[in-house]
Amino acid sequence: MNIIVCIKQVPNTTDVKIDPVTNTLIRDGVESVINPFDVYAIEEGVRLKERFGGKVTVITMGPPQAESALREAISVGCDEAVLVSDRKFAGSDTWATSYTLSCAIKKLGEFDIILCGKQASDGDTAQVGPGISTHLDIPQVTYVKKIEKIENGKAVVERMTEEGYDILETPMPCLFTVVKEINTPRMPSLKGMMRAKSAQIVKWTAADIDCDPQSIGLDGSPTRVVRIFTPPPRKGGEIIKGDAAQVSQELVQLLKDIVI
């Protein structure tokens, strides 16, 4: 089974601090990590390989330093890694990003399953996974919380919904975006870390992936940011003092209009 996992390198939000003077993000010294949701996609890919054989190829589009995210993926069991990196991709919105990744995936050749995290923690759009499956014209299931079975070229999976979950059957090749509930990611093994260090990372630029230059980067992105501003920071409000009975009575009065 050929499995492709798409990942993104993002700033680690546990490190994010706000500059109290300018009220903007302090990025210096913020560590970069694999998008937390993608970690579950990587784990699921490696588990599928362990169950059905085959190989896991991890792919990312990003700046050169995203290579470290790919090495981390290799350390937990991915076999091959591809970095799609070019200044020409800068300014990509989700349309251009999913187009670029779909071009790179076409170049990789035949595959059975593409796995993505349900969304990235820095953009939160959840649009790139479905975008890739649409560019490739393959079926998708989003918010997958369990891959129940795979046989005869079909997969049965559970899609998390607001009320519970749906059980869906889909032919392969297909794309799944996964939620945290799907598995518990493993830690890298010593052998994995050694492999990650020495592994060859395939590097592709725009010229390598047969893409339309007008459909990539800022030029290929329908959306454009016109303003970025910091919302007024939420101020800590009132501290209510007293014993349990007093504070409860006061809170009930304060919240009366909302609750009724």
């Binding site: 994010v16 937390p36 200044r87 939160d124 889909t170 454009r224 970025i228």
Partner: protein, 399 residues
């Protein structure tokens, strides 16, 4: 390819752009801004930040499309088992305002089976026109037929704007549609408006975990598509007797075919109130000490008719199922009232709930970060305060 340049004779060295850059890509050298191309992502934040028009972000001219034929505001109205989801009413309320500013019609789009009876409901919420596609193949949501039908409708009737809920279905559907019709799509908007001059849709959304807000436009593509979070917009009021023009469409099997098939829909009983739709959420965290103590959280939620949330710590400890988790790796919520009990307020949790209208925090640690976002904070023992609060609410609500 696109390029960004600092026009040196306009740059005054004021450093406004340095502060505006979310990627730390701008520095000053000899009192002029210098952009580090290794860090710059062409996000464009610095361009409007510069008061002297000294930064130019240039896009290569991509063949411009004729956009004049696109008009009207569409709302994709999500139904499950024939019940229109409340997010659709919120979008109709917001869509009406946008349609008024543009001087165009507000149209509801509904796909499903045996949904003829929903027409009045949508008309009463202000839809001027209703596109209805009623077919057994559309009974429950499936990516393929829903995408193909919506794409066909868009290609035939050319809407200027399409709004859709940022729900499981909405996000899956419009992400596909936007790629197919070559449209711009902005996720998870919390604010929408119309630019008076260019008549463009201004889409404002949180970025970087809600620490920064970005306003996004789609200048050269149509429709302009956006998903909108729950509970951000106000529901459209009901006007009894309001009538809409009805357009019934039928599509051939080639459009309605689905590669995936739905085998079953499972509703988990534990989830009595849908977390993202709840007006009131009572959440518990590590401070509860054990799964059995969630009983008092559930009790308070029940009295208030709200939903039960949980911090990641309590989910990871196995005290609550993942479906209740609020925060970065769980759900993003913005209820009218969020009561955090024994939750310290790690940034990952705050990201998921800080846009709630009123936040009450109860925690024994006065330095807990949750108090920084709380409208009302109570420093004390949750085991005393939560039950007392439940009793007081019961008294007031006469339950």
């Amino acid at each position: 390819m696109a390029s960004i340049t600092v026009i040196l004779n306009k740059c005054t060295g004021c450093t406004l752009c340095v502060r505006s850059c979310p990627f730390g890509a701008i520095t000053m050298a000899n009192k002029k801004a210098v952009i580090d191309m290794a860090k710059c992502t062409f996000c464009g934040a610095c361009v409007p930040a510069c008061k002297f028009a000294a930064i130019e972000l240039r896009k290569d001219a991509v063949g411009t499309k004729d956009l004049s034929g696109y008009k009207d505001v569409w709302v994709f109205c999500e139904q499950k088992k024939g019940v229109i989801q409340t997010i659709s009413f919120e979008l109709l309320g917001e869509g009406k305002k946008l349609a008024k500013k543009l001087g165009c019609k507000l149209c509801a789009v509904i796909l499903g089976h045996d949904i003829e009876s929903k027409i009045d409901e949508l008309a009463q919420r202000g839809a001027d026109k209703i596109y209805i596609v009623d077919d057994p193949a559309l009974k429950a949501y499936l990516d393929d037929p829903y995408t193909e039908v919506l794409v066909s409708l868009i290609e035939e009737y050319k809407p200027e704007i399409i709004l859709c809920g940022a729900t499981v279905i909405g996000r899956s559907l419009v992400s596909r549609v936007a790629v197919k019709v070559d449209a711009g799509l902005t996720a998870d908007c919390t604010g929408l408006d119309i630019d008076q001059k260019d008549k463009l849709l201004l889409q404002t959304r949180p970025a970087f975990g809600g620490n920064i807000m970005a306003t996004i436009i789609t200048p050269n593509h149509r429709p302009q598509m956006a998903t909108v979070r729950h509970k951000v917009m106000k529901e459209a009021e009901i006007h009894k007797g309001h009538k809409a023009e009805i357009i019934r469409k039928k599509y051939p099997a080639s459009v309605l075919r689905s590669r995936t098939s739905l085998l079953d829909i499972v509703e988990e009983v534990e989830e009595t109130v849908n977390l993202s739709e709840a007006d009131i959420i009572v959440s518990g965290g590590r401070g509860l000490g054990g799964p059995e103590n969630f009983a008092m959280i559930k009790e308070l939620a029940k009295v208030l008719g709200g939903a039960v949330g949980s911090s990641r710590a309590a989910v990871d400890a196995g005290w609550m199922p993942y479906s209740h988790q609020v925060g970065q790796t769980g759900k993003t919520v913005c209820p009218k009232l969020y009561i955090a009990c024994g939750i310290s307020g790690q940034i990952q949790h705050l990201i998921g709930m800080q846009s709630s209208k009123v936040i009450v925090a109860i925690n024994k640690d006065p330095d807990a970060p949750i108090f920084k976002v709380a409208t009302y904070g109570v420093v004390g023992d949750i085991f005393e305060i939560v039950p007392a609060l439940t009793r007081e609410f019961k008294k007031m609500l006469k339950k």
